[in-house]
């Protein structure tokens, strides 16, 4: 079971108080984009064994969306951070590096 801390309201709860929202840091390709980009935006997802970045919503709590960095193999949470960002903040990257040196996920490492 995942234990998540909501970075908005500060509550630490288990995953049934939250709702997963899929992969984080997707860039939207909408009208005017090419078929390949649009296909990638709609369908291409990471499916890593290890470090992963996801969106979560505190749906039975404050109701806000946030991001979580976690390990899909151990269910360990490296950290959670606010949704208003295009990439994981440095302290999250550092926390992952401390436990999974050499990690890489899409363009982040």
């Amino acid at each position: 079971m995942l234990i998540l801390t909501c970075p908005v309201c500060g509550v630490t709860g288990e995953e049934t108080e939250f709702h997963g929202g899929g992969e984080a840091h997707l860039k939207r390709f909408g009208p005017g984009s090419g078929d390949t980009e649009f296909h990638g935006y709609l369908f291409t997802r990471e499916n890593p064994k290890g470090v992963h970045f996801e969106r979560w919503r505190h749906n039975n709590g404050c109701g806000k969306w946030f991001h979580a960095a976690r390990c899909t193999m151990t269910l360990e949470i490296f950290g959670t951070y606010l949704a208003q960002t295009y990439e994981p903040p440095q302290h999250i990257k550092d926390a992952i590096t401390a436990k999974r040196p050499g990690w890489k996920w899409r363009e982040f490492s």
């Binding site: 908005v8 309201c9 500060g10 509550v11 709860g13 288990e14 049934t16 108080e17 749906n59 039975n60 709590g61 404050c62 109701g63 806000k64």
Partner: protein, 190 residues
Amino acid sequence: MSDNVSALDKASYEGFVKVEEAGLRGMITLRGDLGSVKIKNAATGVAGVDMPEQGHANSVEQSGLAWMSPDELLVMLPYGDVNAALAQITKHLKGQHYLAVDVSDARAVFRISGAGAREVIAKLCPVDMSQDAFKPGQFRRTRMAQVPAAFWMGEDEAVHIISFRSVAEYVFNLLKNAAAPGSEVGYLNP
């Protein structure tokens, strides 16, 4: 005139704790920047209690303020005082970016009291209810079995619970079941 009644009209149950539906309660959802002095003053002005810290609620009898999120407060007050309070908020926050809505009839309020109150909540919500983790004054939004709920604890360790009115009967049945005599676990009160 219509005779307004709460969802379960003050039903109560005596188990190893006492479970009561608390009757009608005035509630206003106030959204805006909780860092703003004007918003804070509008809320404390109608509720008559201090501004609660993050994750807390301040309450005196029927009135109180609960911290719902960084942009949302729950203002509680006697059921009959809501319209006057809304008018006061509207006047106070003229020109500000905010939202204030009467949600009194969308909610049900319960109170559970007695030595096992923490245990009843712990059976139903994924929240650490040990005395070190959850203290009087703290306010928690979570789920109660399958529905959203929020609760806080007064100084007397009675727990006040808010749910949606549409699931009031479900919540009351959950609480009754969790408080049934003979079902004490005793983990939190050794």
